[in-house]
Amino acid sequence: MKDNIKNDDYILIVKNLKKYYPISKFALGKSKAYVKAVDDVSFSIKRGTTMGLVGESGCGKTTVGRTILRLHEVTDGQVIFDGKDLSQVSPRELRKMRPQMQMIFQDPYSSLSPRMPVGEIIGEAVKQHKIVPKEQYRSYILKVMRDCGLQPQYYYRYPHEFSGGQRQRISIARAVALNPKFIICDEPLSALDVSIQAQIINLMKDLQERYGYTYLFISHDLSVVEYISDSIGVMYLGSMIEIGDKKRIFSNPMHPYTKALLSAVPVSDPDVKMNRIILKGDIPSPVNPPSGCKFRTRCPYAMPICAEKAPVLKEYEEDHRVACHLYSQE
């Protein structure tokens, strides 16, 4: 099944990605225990689409994003970007490929260098990679700024003069200026006010329509993910538990965790009384996850087999795969 997706339609194919962090017992000793932040995650994204990655804090969604860009070294697995395996390329080559894949960060306050004017923040890498000829540089940056809804006067201003929403626009402009094909958005809205969130979502949608970007949209906010994504992956404790087309997942969630997650979202209508599934307990520690299915400790449908064998992702309907023993029995 995995072999036939080696297709030009996909800009990114992640195969069995693993990222383990060693926990050292002594300052210099070798350790044997690991935190499995990302444990055997596979997915692929079609060109020009948006994939949403949802999950609660500590589920490894941010680590997936950073490992794809090789900000963290890959423990095991493949990240095939545009036909090239990123986990194998040399640091030199990687740096040359950097402009093609960009990232928008969560915290608009710490993601902009405080001692650089806006124009330089956006243009620093443009200069480094010689994206445009020198004489066009300034007008290019100004164009990018206009595209992202920033006024030209901001060119010489410093980040401390801007509000969170404007800073996030600068952060987007920095990514867009490099003419990327693929952008990872790591919770870009969670630090913003409600009325500003909508502006940023619209901006990102606009840019995608105009320039055909592919997004990996990491978020814990299900309603935003539902709005912006074409396909969705749900993560729990480092594993992908359900993945597929957005509409299929939202209309027919199969994994008990996805069901609970969807039902837990508060709805802005006092008349709608959600039939809420309230999960008991907390997310277990990733250092020492439960055996078998990681979700079984909180699952209302846990069976004996769940403790023994970890379920694998299986396709139950077209473009909708679930890792759960509930369905493999039928």
Partner: protein
């Protein structure tokens, strides 16, 4: 282009950085004078109780806030965080306060607790009437500090956003809970305090209360800590719980647990909850009465049904439309309120929402609108409506 000549007040740019040194000096000198006056008032000892006893307007309310003004005298100018806010918290109801960051929702709650961070923050005007369990009514704005200590934590309890920082990391949970009991209940002994603490932990749905009682805050997860915070708030049978963004730092599934718990608790103690949040979904689910704040003022208030089914103020309408959800059709663009939240210093003397409003008229830039009554419980401050609550006709809007 429209932004050609807005040099100083460009949108989204913090204009306070453009003050000259001399201007800042002048401001801080003036502030020092004002602050001194208020601090002297607050630090008085042995105040006659008569001075801060008062009468409630409606005896079914726990707290009545009337025309509250809380200002911060900062070095770059006066920030009118709360600028004429009035609302009631009735007995046994959940009042939801919604608004974006900096709209004054948290400062309102801190004013009720007399916890506005001084000396820069001061309650300048208005009254907060509180009905205590013994039937007396107190005027919180005039209460001396030492008297307020007895109310805080006992009659009015607070739950904060960040359960990580609101518990002291060096003491065990049990110690911190017992401390509250021993402080507020005169006849309690260490043993009875422990019994009560464990009882409370059980009440907030903690399966193993003895173990939690004996653990340190860092040993608990975020959801557990928030439960402990709620248990601590409940311990002295408060009449009002102020929950300031109680679920913002939590995950969705944990948020659902905590909201469920808050609802149960309210039924059990028959107290009131003031729920502060920016999440309209949480409000829709929890609140009975909703107060929408913007830039230090209430722009709309009403029952949940009124606010969610027939919102009147363009800001409220915009907020609801700008959240992605089932109401958006495939491929449709999200509605977004243009511009930024205004700079809190030097607010204009007309409608604060004027620059961001789609329906702004000429009259909107000529003075702040009065509250218009739509029903006995529903109010909004907007020029779009006539005195009797009907929407103005198109020609009339044009004329204005």
């Amino acid at each position: 282009m429209s932004f050609l000549n807005n040099d100083k007040n460009a949108e989204g740019v913090d204009s306070s950085v453009y003050l000259t040194l001399r201007e800042e000096r002048r401001i801080s000198r003036e502030n020092a004078k004002i602050i001194k006056k208020y601090e002297r008032e607050k630090n008085r000892k042995k105040v006659d109780e008569k001075e801060y006893l008062t009468e409630m307007r409606d005896p079914s309310n726990v707290v009545e806030i009337e025309n509250l003004h809380t200002y911060f005298y900062t070095d770059v100018g006066v920030v009118k965080s709360v600028n004429g806010v009035s609302f009631d918290i009735p007995q046994g109801k959940i009042v939801g306060v919604v608004g974006e960051s900096g709209c004054g929702k948290s400062v309102t709650s801190l004013s009720i607790m007399q916890l506005v961070p001084g000396p820069t923050g001061q309650i300048v005007e208005g009254s907060i009437r509180y009905k205590a369990s013994d039937g007396k009514c107190y005027e919180i704005t005039k209460m001396p500090r030492d008297r307020m200590l007895k109310i805080r934590g006992k009659d009015i309890a607070m739950i904060f956003q960040e359960p990580m920082t609101s518990l002291n990391p060096v003491f065990k949970i049990g110690y911190q809970m017992d401390e509250v009991v021993l402080l507020h209940e005169e006849e309690s002994t260490p043993e009875s305090a422990k019994k009560k603490s464990i009882e409370m932990l059980k009440q907030v749905g903690i399966a193993d209360p003895e173990k939690v009682y004996a653990s340190y805050p860092h040993e608990l997860s975020g959801g557990m800590r928030q439960r402990v915070m709620i248990a601590m708030a409940l311990i002295c049978n408060p009449r009002l719980i102020i929950a300031d963004e109680p679920t913002t730092a939590l995950d969705v599934t944990i948020q659902a647990q905590i909201l469920e718990l808050l609802r149960e608790i309210k039924e059990k103690i028959n107290g009131s909850i003031m729920l502060i949040t920016h999440d309209l979904g949480v409000i829709a689910e929890m609140a009975d009465i909703v107060v929408v704040m913007y830039a230090g003022r209430i722009i709309e208030q009403g029952t949940v049904k009124e606010i969610f089914h027939s919102p009147k103020h363009p800001y409220t309408i915009g907020l609801m439309k700008s959240r992605p959800g089932r109401h958006i059709k495939e491929g449709e663009k999200l509605y977004s309120i243009k511009g930024q939240v205004p700079n809190p210093i030097n607010m204009p003397d007309y409608c604060y929402f004027y620059n961001r409003c789609d329906k702004a008229m000429r009259v909107c830039s000529q003075g702040y609108p009065d509250l218009i009554k739509f029903s006995p419980t529903h109010y909004a401050a907007c020029y779009l409506y006539n005195e009797d609550g009907s929407e103005k006709s198109a020609e009339e809007k044009e004329r204005r």
